[in-house]
C-alpha cells in the first residue's frame, strides 16, 4: 500500500474527481464516446429518413413523422448529437480561450446553443408526429 504523506480519509478517486479544465472529471470523455457510438448505430436509418423527407413536400414530411419508429429514431439522433456537440465545442473552447471570464461566457453560450437547437428540433418533431 502506498500511504499518502499526510493522513487523509479521502480516496485517490475522490481527490481527482471534478478536476480537469472543465471540472467535470472524466464523465464528458465517456459521454462523448457513448453518443458517438449511438450516432454511428443510428446514421444509416437517419440518412434514409432524411432522403425520404427531401423527396416530399410539407404535408409529406408531416406524414413521415407520424410514423412512431421514424420519430423515435430522429429524436434519439438529435439527443445524441446535441450532447456530443456540446461536449466537443466545450473542448474546443477550453483549448483556445484562455481568458477565464470569456471562457465561462463561451461555455455558457455553448450550453444555451445546444439546448436551444435540440429543444427546437425535438419540439418540431413531436408537433409533427402528434399531428397538431
Amino acid at each position: 500500500m502506498n500511504a499518502p504523506k499526510s493522513p487523509s480519509m479521502r480516496t485517490p478517486l475522490a481527490r481527482v474527481r471534478a478536476l480537469g479544465s472543465s471540472h467535470s472529471g472524466t464523465s464528458d470523455f465517456w459521454r462523448q464516446r457513448l453518443t458517438a457510438v449511438a450516432m454511428t448505430l443510428l446514421i444509416v436509418p437517419v440518412i434514409v429518413v432524411v432522403l425520404m423527407l427531401l423527396g416530399s413536400n410539407q404535408a409529406g414530411a408531416k406524414q413521415i413523422f407520424s410514423s412512431v419508429p421514424i420519430a423515435i429514431i430522429m429524436l434519439l439522433f438529435i439527443l445524441a448529437s446535441a450532447w456530443h456537440m456540446k461536449i466537443g465545442m466545450q473542448v474546443v473552447i477550453e483549448d483556445y480561450v484562455h481568458n477565464e471570464k470569456i471562457k465561462l461566457a463561451s461555455v455558457m453560450a455553448n450550453n444555451f446553443f445546444c439546448i436551444a437547437v435540440a429543444l427546437a428540433s425535438i419540439y418540431a418533431i413531436l408537433k409533427m408526429s402528434s399531428g397538431v
Partner: protein
Amino acid sequence: MALSIVHRATGVALYFGTLLLAWWLIAAASGPGAYANVQAFTGSFIGKLIVFGYTWALMHHLLSGLRHLVWDLGYGFKANEREALTWGALIGGISLTILVWIIAYMTIGGGR
C-alpha cells in the same frame, strides 16, 4: 498527417450546420409556406453547396471519429496502421459523400 484538426474543424462546421437542420424541422412543423422557403434555399446553388459541404463534414467526422474509437480501444498505433486509418477516413469520407448524393439524385431526382 494533420487530420485531427480536420476532425475538429468538421465538428465545428457540423455544430453550426445544426441550425439549418433545426430551421428545416421547424419549417416542416410550421406549414407549407415556411417549408417552401427552406426548399427554395436548399435548392439554390449556395444552398446545395452548403448541404454538400455538410454531408462531407458529417461523413468525414463519422469515419475520423471511428478512427479515434479504434485508438481508444488500444489498436492501430503502428505507423502503417495510423496511415491506413487516416487515408481510409479521408478517402472513405469523400466516397460516402458522393455515394449519398448519387442515391439522393436517383431516389428523389433533386439532391436537395
